[in-house]
Amino acid sequence: MPDFAKRKWRLPLTAGVACLATAATVWTAGAVQRRPETAPAREVTEQEAATLHTAEQLLTARCMGRRGFSYWPVARNPVPEYREFPYVLDDLAYARRYGYGTGLEHRMRELSEAHPNKRHVRALPEPRRLAWLAALHGQGTDEQLRAALPSGGVVARSARSCTSEAERDLYEDLPEWYRVMQFTRSLTSVRRGRVVSDARFAAASARWSRCMRGEGHDHRDPAAIRRELDDPAGDRPSAYWSRLAVAEATCADRSGLGATARELDRAYERRLREEYPDQTGTMRRLRLAAVPRARAVVAGA
């Protein structure tokens, strides 16, 4: 009975929040922990995620077409071999083959420069270029979607943009989709921050650093290498980076830093899902529900 009573009370509130101006969402996001209305939905598979991405892009292109503009879908992974290693390069085969992925990044940059959207927009006369971007991104004067984020702050986007229109077609409840999509995206940085601040990560990093010294490299943690990589004044030869990448991966394994980071990442992911059941549950539910619609969009393309 209390459950029923709670539910009856919750539904009008949910509807009310959705109807109110979006600032209401800002106020209530922290205070009202709405729960997913059905049993927890599963995470979509990698293949389903790819279908969702393709459908988002196709729907964006259709919207742009309806507004009189050309748009070319953007690939989810233009260079499939490329991988990000947020904590430590922990794949020795990857390190041997691609080092820090600088060559793959170079390829991604070239593909980006040559992407038909970029070339097309560069070549448009200014009024047409502004109109293209206004169709895609909307205007500051439009109704705005807003999302309060777990790492703080409010991010916003036009609800009238073609990006928004495509996402409305696919996920149906656009304000809710935007709210949980931005929220869960921000949870990734929260999770990574917690992992690197964890004492177990620090202890494993110290072991990794000792191992690196044994390999002839003096780095406090893997982030120090990223800093060196990004240094615009850096002029190390590529052989140095190749050796360093292999040493980093070797030591990630030997010191246990790789395993510790993977384990902490999984543990904090679980914990954050429990801390934010509303946003993470709704995200899963909306994505899973959109898969059949996405398949239809891709099939009809």
Partner: protein
């Protein structure tokens, strides 16, 4: 934005109410400046909330915001540690999201702004540097008046 920062933090409620106002209303109040909310392929950073005040815009990366420009040329005083609004109006096709960094040369903690999105009022102090980056410097601090460089990245 630095001078009135404390006042604005104290009036968080007023600022929040301001969030729901259409930006047009604010542009009407001060018609001079909301070019920084126009989508034209650039990444924008403006001195004041909602695209007001001086602003810089970029098509590429910039490792040092102490010098930057708007369409009419170099912006006096640049934008380092001064921006209170940002808008990513980039063109999708890879390298269309933007990381903004606590230090020059893409160093220290950062925060990512996905293509098509904007932060309208950083003076509230809510948006923090939420990625550890190269060394965690600035991690957890408000990004308001504290961004020194930016670069385009493949994803947020």
């Amino acid at each position: 934005m630095r001078k009135i920062r404390i006042v604005l933090s104290g009036l968080a409620l007023v600022g929040l109410a301001g969030l729901v106002q259409p930006i047009a209303a604010q542009a009407t109040a001060a018609p001079a400046a909301s070019a920084a909310l126009m989508a034209d392929g650039f990444f924008y950073a403006a001195e004041n909330p909602n695209g007001q005040g001086k602003y810089c815009r970029w098509l590429g990366n910039d490792g040092d915001w102490s010098n930057c420009s708007d369409p009419s040329g170099a912006v006096p005083g640049g934008m380092q540690n001064q921006a209170s609004q940002m808008f990513n109006s980039g063109v999708p096709g890879g390298y269309d999201d933007v990381n903004v960094y606590y230090n020059k040369n893409y160093d220290g903690a950062y925060r990512c702004l996905a293509v098509g999105n904007h932060w309208d009022n950083l003076t509230l102090g809510w948006e923090t540097f939420d990625h550890w980056g190269t060394n965690g410097q600035g991690y957890g601090k408000s990004i308001n008046d504290d961004v020194a460089s930016h670069k385009w990245v493949t994803s947020c």
